[in-house]
């Protein structure tokens, strides 16, 4: 999906929207994002009032509740010049869905939704399309092999796909392999995984089979929610393989000064 060209984010301080799941379950992934951005000389701030983008309510049809959460988001990020988030689906929520939740008649929230949509970048997109980085000039401490799972919202909502592969392809000691049906959903789909657990599991089982068949040791993706689904299935089905967030792979290659 082609998005209108946006203002260059180069030189702007980043307000990190870490997402609710990273905050509570994967804080290290959030730290990886911070470390990489700071390594690149980007100034990073964490607006402390942030919570969630509202996607669970939005995808379930609860629009009043979504609007309430969105308005809180506007407040939490009122000073942000640029928002970076390590999630394709949350970025899609901010970029594509916020503007649909309000009409010009709503006044300020409408304007804020437009503003948030304009300044939000997904992590890998920010690095590659935003900062123009193709090669981080980093190397992993030891050789590892990877394959990419394209999380749905990043791929089809934001038109990503290439960014994480480009960064991995030029990462030292990283070998990139194919993953069969890498563009097919893992079966997470938010509350879909709980509302229709058996259908979700059929999709997950297919994903697990493809992951097990891939020569890659580790699967890389850009959304921790999909990662939770896939690792939950890999672990339950006694697979030794795991899915990791792109930021965690890249951070492993940073020089030792990491805090």
């Amino acid at each position: 999906m082609a998005l209108p060209a946006r203002e260059s984010p180069i030189g702007k301080p980043v307000s990190l929207f870490v997402t609710c799941i990273v905050d509570m379950i994967y804080p290290d992934t959030g730290m990886s994002v911070v470390d990489i951005l700071e390594h690149l000389g980007v100034s990073v701030d964490f607006p402390p009032a942030q919570t969630c983008c509202g996607q669970p309510a939005f995808n379930s049809g609860y629009r009043d509740e979504t609007r309430a959460v969105a308005k809180h988001f506007f407040k939490a990020f009122q000073d942000a010049e640029l928002i970076v988030t390590p999630s394709g689906s949350c970025a899609t929520m901010l970029r594509h869905e916020y503007p649909t939740l309000f009409t010009p008649a709503d006044g300020t929230p409408y304007e804020q939704a437009q503003r948030i949509a304009a300044i939000t970048w997904e992590f890998s997109e920010y690095l590659v399309d935003g900062l123009g980085i193709r090669d981080l000039d980093l190397s992993l401490p030891a050789p590892e092999s990877f394959a990419v799972h394209d999380a749905c919202h990043g791929l089809r909502g934001l038109g990503l796909g290439g960014a994480s592969r480009q960064l991995l392809a030029r990462l030292g000691n990283a070998e990139l392999h194919d993953l069969k049906e890498c563009e097919v959903c893992c079966g997470f789909g938010g509350l879909f995984s709980i509302k229709m657990p058996d259908v979700s599991n059929a999709m997950l089982t297919n994903k697990v089979e493809n992951i097990n068949a891939s020569p890659a040791e580790t699967i890389v993706t850009g959304d921790v929610s999909c990662l939770t689904q896939m690792n939950g299935g890999l672990s339950r089905q006694k697979s030794a393989k795991r899915v990791v967030h792109l930021a965690d792979v890249l951070a492993k290659a940073l020089p030792e000064e990491r805090s």
Partner: protein, 469 residues
């Protein structure tokens, strides 16, 4: 004579499909094959060319939809000028009655029918059989379905849910075929049986993939040639066409007859691409003596007035079904009405009422593949989201979810409550262990859940900044 609606049982029907290894095998192979071939054909020149074709097709259908009332009048005029007798049917009962009237008028006993999803909506075969007419489905897939007293599970591959071995057994049981596992021999056998029916049919019934307004023609595409037999051999031909099938020009038809087979079977063109112009002329030796077009509404004009109008541009290619990971897991019957897959999850609530198809808008992970492959770029995920919102708005959602979402929104509108919620979840997980309670148990039924972090990010961030200060 209404078609049974079981869409509220989606989860139970999906469960049956998930436990059927033959269905799992057949649908997995069928959908993936179609998906793969589509990509190869649509992007044979280049991705840009394929995307351009999609946009051109979408524009042709949307333009026709915008001008629908005018184009229908133009079409009626031009169809009549070609010798078609044009009838209008508001609903299934009226459409079926019109077909029966025509059959009686022409003393019809046997009907040869080519594939039509619209007639599935109408329950036409049952209506005709109830009036003691013999109806033979002549599309091979539909023929098998009819022998086995089933409904199509896929828009273009009606018997996708069956394996070759199952089809062999149906032929042996219903038609006394000599046992064989050779697909070609099975097809040859069916062909021979059908040949007899074509020669003896008094009336042919077809659908219409497109109705070309400027020339007053019915556009019909097929691969087996059965549709050409149905529309040219019997004395009488009826084309039942949904009012949304209209296109403005032959040029639009040319666009759409490329994206339709490309998207559904990965063919650049179907084996037979027809433009039917009514009954045989005085100087012609063959063709039907009487040609009818029945323009069927059956709920379409109601959808036309809603935000879901674009769903009426669907050209029934089945690409969204092939691409959908939910459909790939369940097949089409789980959706409980005529149309399965993403387009079915949208159309069914619109046709039969949202209250009668409540699970369908939720039968999607919103992965977006359906929109991506749709040859007319229908925003199916958007429509599913809107239908979910309507379910909540109209009070169809479960009270437990309502309460949970309200509580969740309260938690998410304050960082203090958010942090408290996280701490509670962390403590709760410690107590509950591996298997989560209540509805959350649906997660741990099939997957492990990760541990909540001992310290959330917001705390790590604060500690780090304190260290640095």
């Amino acid at each position: 004579m209404t078609v049974e609606i079981q869409s509220n049982d989606f989860i139970a029907l999906a469960d049956i499909a998930l436990r059927n290894p033959d269905l799992q095998h057949a649908v997995a192979a069928g959908t993936r094959g179609g998906y793969q071939k589509r990509a190869e054909t649509m992007f044979a020149h280049s991705r840009e060319h394929g995307e351009h074709m999609r946009q051109q097709a979408a524009e042709a259908k949307r333009r026709a939809l915008r001008n629908l009332p005018d184009l229908l009048e133009t079409a009626e005029r031009n169809l009549s000028a070609n010798g078609w007798q044009v009838e209008w049917a508001e609903d299934a009962a009226e459409a079926n009655r019109l077909v029966l009237d025509i059959a009686r008028r022409h003393k019809v006993q046997t009907v040869a029918k080519s594939k039509s999803m619209l007639t599935e909506e109408l329950g036409l075969n049952h209506a005709l059989e109830a009036a003691d007419l013999r109806v033979v489905e002549t599309d091979l897939g539909e023929y098998i379905i009819q022998l086995n007293d089933e409904t199509p599970s896929h828009i273009v591959a009606p018997v996708m849910h069956k394996t070759k071995a199952e089809i062999r057994d149906i032929f042996i049981r219903e038609l006394g075929m000599e046992p064989t596992d050779d697909a070609e021999a099975m097809v040859a056998f069916a062909r021979k049986m059908l040949r007899h029916d074509f020669l003896n049919a008094d009336m042919g019934i077809s659908g219409g993939n497109f109705l070309i307004a400027e020339t007053g023609s019915v556009g019909l595409v097929m691969n087996e040639g059965n549709g050409r037999m149905c529309t040219s051999m019997p004395r009488v031909h009826i084309a039942l066409v949904g009012i949304e099938k209209i296109v403005e020009t032959v040029e639009d038809y040319a666009t759409l007859t490329q994206v339709l087979p490309s998207s559904s079977t990965g063919q650049k063109l179907t084996v037979y691409t027809n433009i039917l112009n009514g009954p045989r002329r005085a100087d012609e030796d063959d063709g039907p003596q009487h040609s009818y077009v029945i323009l069927v509404d059956n709920g379409r004009s109601q959808i036309y007035g809603t935000d879901y109008a674009e769903a009426l541009t669907c050209i029934r290619c089945g690409a969204c079904q092939n691409a959908c990971p939910v459909y790939r897991s369940t097949g089409g019957h789980a959706y409980g009405w005529v149309y399965g897959g993403p387009i079915g999850a949208v159309l069914t609530p619109l046709f039969v009422g949202l209250e009668n198809a409540q699970p369908l808008p939720h039968a999607s992970s919103l992965c977006g593949s359906c929109k991506q492959v749709c040859p007319v770029d229908i925003d199916l995920p958007r429509m599913l989201l809107d239908l979910r919102w309507e379910l909540v708005r109209d009070g169809h959602s479960k009270t437990g979810w309502d309460a949970a979402m309200k509580a969740w929104a309260i938690g998410m509108t304050s960082p203090r409550r958010f942090a408290l919620g996280g701490a509670t979840a962390r403590a709760g997980q410690h107590i509950m262990g591996e298997y989560l309670p209540g509805i959350l148990g649906n997660w741990t039924k099939h997957r492990d859940f990760p541990d909540f972090a001992p310290k959330p990010f917001r705390r790590l961030w604060k500690e780090r900044n304190n260290d640095r200060a």
